[in-house]
């Protein structure tokens, strides 16, 4: 994140529109410097020890989430976006492990905590919302039991109080007649209602950070719109930070302030969501945007990105995107690109400068 980048570097870009954004940049930098980030991930590397070889699922991933900020992580399946989220909560199970890097949250490095200390943070300080509410909720426990479970685990609270809190939280996620719902089972609720319950469970301990892994993918569009609105509203009213993982660029565009694009285990581009959507520098991000049906006249061929994302076992040398890249040069095949900063965006591409002209 360009938090530590001096403004001269940011301003070397010629685009007048970006210069305008630079005018506001010092203020933003100040704000970011004055507060310690809510979450800071530094040079994270996650490996999976397979029988024949070690696969590196995440390489050199660094990002920050500020208090109350909504950060989106986009990428295709296998890009490492879920691994990144899971490793924050130390939920990577064998054969995977965090091989290097640090994750700072609340002054502590989460990678160094014991299992016991970690479980004090999980569900209490950082909550998670998963994709499929059918799978996340336990079908044989009532909504109430599942909601108060987190409270009892983390706080010294009476059953009566816990019930009160649970009903209040259900009301906050706009579930009608929350007191009745408290005693019902997940199967008695519709998909959208279930996802609201999952969000309520994530919220009940009032955590400063929520990680949502494809929270709306399993839902219909009309329900998706409701859930998105609800999550936005909750983030804004209570200052909860959000990491939203999705493959849907439309969802990212509507819900987040900043976005990270991942490809083959690395961050390839990061910046303000508006800039990522409107002025993508990385050819991959650009390709993703261009491939959307609304970018082409109806009935015409879509602008596809050729090829597929490489498997983790066969990531090419240099830039991982080079075999699919329309702007590839020899340098891309040999040397890994470092991050360059343009305005609010940082991008790992040798040819990013070619996009600014």
């Amino acid at each position: 994140m360009p938090g530590g980048v001096p403004c001269e570097v940011r301003c070397r870009h010629r685009d007048p529109q970006r210069d305008r954004s630079c005018a506001t940049a010092p203020v933003r930098i100040q704000r970011r410097h004055s507060i310690v980030s809510l979450l800071e991930v530094k040079n994270l590397e996650v490996r999976f020890a397979m029988r024949r070889q070690e696969l590196i699922a995440l390489r050199d991933v660094s990002f920050k989430v500020e208090k109350g900020e909504r950060l989106g992580i986009v990428g295709e399946s296998g890009a490492g976006k879920s691994v990144a989220a899971f490793s924050i909560l130390n939920l990577i199970s064998k054969p995977g492990y965090i091989s290097s890097g640090e994750i700072f949250f609340g002054g502590k490095d989460l990678t160094k905590l014991t299992a016991r200390e970690m479980s004090q943070i999980r569900g209490n300080q950082i909550s998670m919302v998963f994709q499929d509410p059918m799978m996340t909720l336990n079908p044989v426990l009532t909504i109430g039991t599942q909601m108060t479970e987190a409270l009892h685990a983390h706080q010294d609270i009476s059953r009566e109080e816990a019930k009160q809190r649970a009903i209040e939280t259900l009301a906050r996620v706009h579930i009608p007649s929350p007191a009745t719902r408290f005693d019902q089972y997940p199967h008695e609720l519709s998909g959208g209602m279930r996802q609201r319950v999952v969000i309520a469970i994530a919220l009940i301990t009032k955590p400063p950070l929520i990680i949502a892994d494809e929270p709306t993918t399993a839902l219909d569009v009309t329900i998706q719109a409701e859930i998105m609105e609800l999550m936005m509203e909750l983030c804004e009213s209570s200052g909860v930070g959000l990491i939203l993982i999705t493959h849907d660029l439309g969802v990212i565009s509507q819900m987040t302030e900043r976005a990270i694009v991942m490809y083959a285990g690395r961050i390839v581009e990061e910046g303000d969501t508006r800039d990522i959507i409107n002025h993508a520098y990385h050819p991959y991000t650009h390709g993703l945007m261009d491939a959307l049906p609304q970018k082409t006249k109806p009935g015409r061929r879509l602008n596809q990105i050729k090829g597929v994302m490489p498997a983790l076992s066969s990531i090419p040398d240099g830039c991982a995107f080079n075999p699919r890249c329309p702007l590839v040069i020899d340098l891309c095949r040999t040397t890994l690109p470092q991050f360059t900063v343009f305005g609010s965006t940082r991008v790992a591409c040798h040819r990013a400068a070619a996009r600014t002209d």
């Binding site: 998909g191 209602m193 998105m228 491939a291 597929v308």
Partner: protein, 336 residues
């Protein structure tokens, strides 16, 4: 419309019984044994014509009956009531043997390429099977030649045809299932959510492939999806379904520029788009009713802001206004 109808559907109903056996149907209510016969009404009175050469998209939310419609048209399941005609011939009453020539003309592409390809068959076997079944006169060399031709046309290297499905990526597998559908040279393809299981960059590839095939082979598509952005791009006409009924049927451009039915309007406004804030969508109250107990009158009335007494009593019929067909009393009465 100048083109000839390819598929004509009249008053199509499909119900799936919940209580199958006689013992299942018996329940005790108020101290007495009662026979209960409930069913899921997946389709209730669908009227639809697919014209030759068009790409008709069917959209709707989960549970609205769009996949059932696809399967009934393909005669994979028999309708409870109603008739389906292929050109002029009724196909819903035909037996398995009689349907064989129609199977050659209509093929299906399924949603999940991980489940729709047999993991124990190589690509070659998968593609040969429909060819030899429908064209018994072909000899081995001719079949092989056709396999090469069809794999090449979907962008798969023919030298890979002795591999098994697990050796391919999701996008490649979907290409293979498209190749399987194209293998018998069909004129009509039903595609049930063919790109929903794929990644964004792969979706564009598969969609391009389907559009190329449409141009080269003059195919007619029935494309089932919940992704409205794809519909806008791919379809020539769109049918919007809600709870087993058609609520609007219009040319794609018309539907997206001026949606008529209140449900269509809500559905279109809910699509997350780039550079647009999420707050300005139409909020529907309530939830989709269960298809076991359909509401009286218009199935949408419980969530519709324009609902009147008539909507609660009387089921609206699909009426045509210019080139749009809408099933809505409010539009008929000029209230919207």
């Amino acid at each position: 419309m100048s083109a000839a109808p390819l598929i004509t559907i009249n008053g199509l109903y499909k119900e799936f019984p919940i209580h199958k056996g006689i013992l299942d149907q018996l329940t005790i209510a108020g101290g007495r044994v009662v026979k209960k016969h409930e069913s899921v009404k997946a389709l209730s009175g669908v009227e639809l014509t697919v014209w030759k050469g068009e790409s008709l998209c069917v959209v709707g939310e989960s549970g609205c009956g769009k996949s059932t419609l696809a399967r009934v048209i393909m005669s994979l399941i028999k309708p409870t009531r109603g008739e389906i005609r292929y050109e002029q011939e009724r196909i819903d009453t035909k037996g398995v043997g009689e349907l064989l020539p129609y199977r050659k003309k209509m093929q299906m592409i399924f949603q999940n390429p991980y489940a729709s390809l047999n993991p124990r068959m190589t690509v070659r076997q998968t593609l040969q099977e429909p060819m030899t079944l429908h064209n018994p006169e072909l000899n081995v060399a001719e079949v092989n030649e056709r396999v090469v031709e069809v794999t090449r046309s979907v962008g798969i290297d023919p030298s890979w045809s002795d591999r098994y499905p697990h050796e391919f990526s999701g996008g490649q597998r979907q290409r293979i299932s498209i190749a399987r559908a194209l293998a018998v040279d069909p004129e009509f393809i039903v595609a049930d959510e063919p790109i929903s299981a794929l990644d964004v960059s792969i979706q564009a590839q598969v969609l391009n492939l389907m559009m190329d095939a449409r141009e080269q082979r003059a195919l007619t598509y029935l494309f089932i999806t919940h992704d409205l952005a794809v519909v806008e791009h791919f379809g020539s006409r769109v049918a919007v379904m809600y709870l087993g009924t058609l609520c609007e049927l219009a040319p794609t451009k018309k539907l997206f520029s001026s949606p008529q039915h209140p449900y269509t309007q809500a559905l279109l406004s809910a699509i997350p788009r780039l550079n647009q804030s999420s707050s300005d969508y139409i909020r529907l109250r309530g939830e989709v009713p269960t298809p076991v107990n359909l509401p009286d009158g218009c199935v949408f009335h419980g969530r519709c802001i324009h609902a009147s007494d008539r909507c609660r009593r009387e089921n609206p019929a699909l009426k045509t206004y210019a080139d749009t067909a809408v099933a809505c009393h409010a539009i008929e009465e000029g209230r919207i």
